[in-house]
């Protein structure tokens, strides 16, 4: 069975997470070998996933942890 681009897009997230079964994976791989569009979609989606996980993108506010533990100390002192 030959799968089309739309079919590949539907599974792209599961493909990136390694959650497609072996048969579908090899069909997608075969499609990607010849389809410039889908391999670009895959690359850019994967790039987005990698960038999102970079700790420099999403940071807690400066001083967050210090303020949290200070508040916690008050609670611990109160809780006798």
């Amino acid at each position: 069975m030959r799968i089309d681009c739309k079919h590949v897009w539907e599974h792209i997230s599961a493909y990136i997470d390694g959650e497609v079964d072996a048969e579908l994976r090899s069909e997608i791989d075969r499609h990607l070998e010849t389809c410039e569009i889908c391999s670009a979609v895959l690359d850019s989606t994967r790039n987005v996933v990698v960038l999102m996980a970079d700790s420099r993108v999403f940071e807690v506010p400066a001083g967050f942890s210090a303020r949290l533990h200070e508040r916690l100390d008050e609670e611990l002192a109160r809780s006798g």
Binding site: S13, N47, S79
Partner: protein, 209 residues
Amino acid sequence: MNASNPEFESECIRRILAGEKQIFHDLIRPCERSIYFLLFTLLRNEAEAEDAAQETVIKVYRNLHLFRGDSQFRTWVLSIARNEGLGRIRKAESRREDSLDALTDGQTGDFTPAILTGWREVPAKALEQKELGEILRKAVEGLPEIYRNVVVLRDIEEMDVRETALALGITEGAVKVRLHRARALLQRDLAPRLKGFAPKRGRIFGWGA
């Protein structure tokens, strides 16, 4: 960074409940980031997310004796954070027009990817530029809530499907569907804009947007 250690956690909990209260600082520290980002994604406001994170941690401490160990500690903590966040939203809801369940999984939408070739490399180096981080944060903030929550826990906090499902109170299937849609929306939003951050390469394809 996100890996939990059940033995460390249960030892800490045992000692805290036996009176060594200060150990709670060490127990909660690995969960702080996830608590904050889950709340930030719900509340969309830094100061309120921080305040809710503090409330969550206090509630975790006060209810520590109720933790049964049948889920991961962090999952339990995040479900408390989620309840804290949802409680605050409900309180504010009378003043707001958008409903919590405005969007459902059954809803159809356009999740067609941006068809762009040429942005092939991860411009991780480009993250040193503040602008790129800002683009990524704005893109996530712009997602509908049900997708935003999932992408924050799965792709930013790198939690697994099961843990994400438990923390958000949804099925694992819903996590997968929402994550797929979130990534598709992010790809479509970001691919054209991030292309400019990609390192220059010799390969140029004959495709536009």
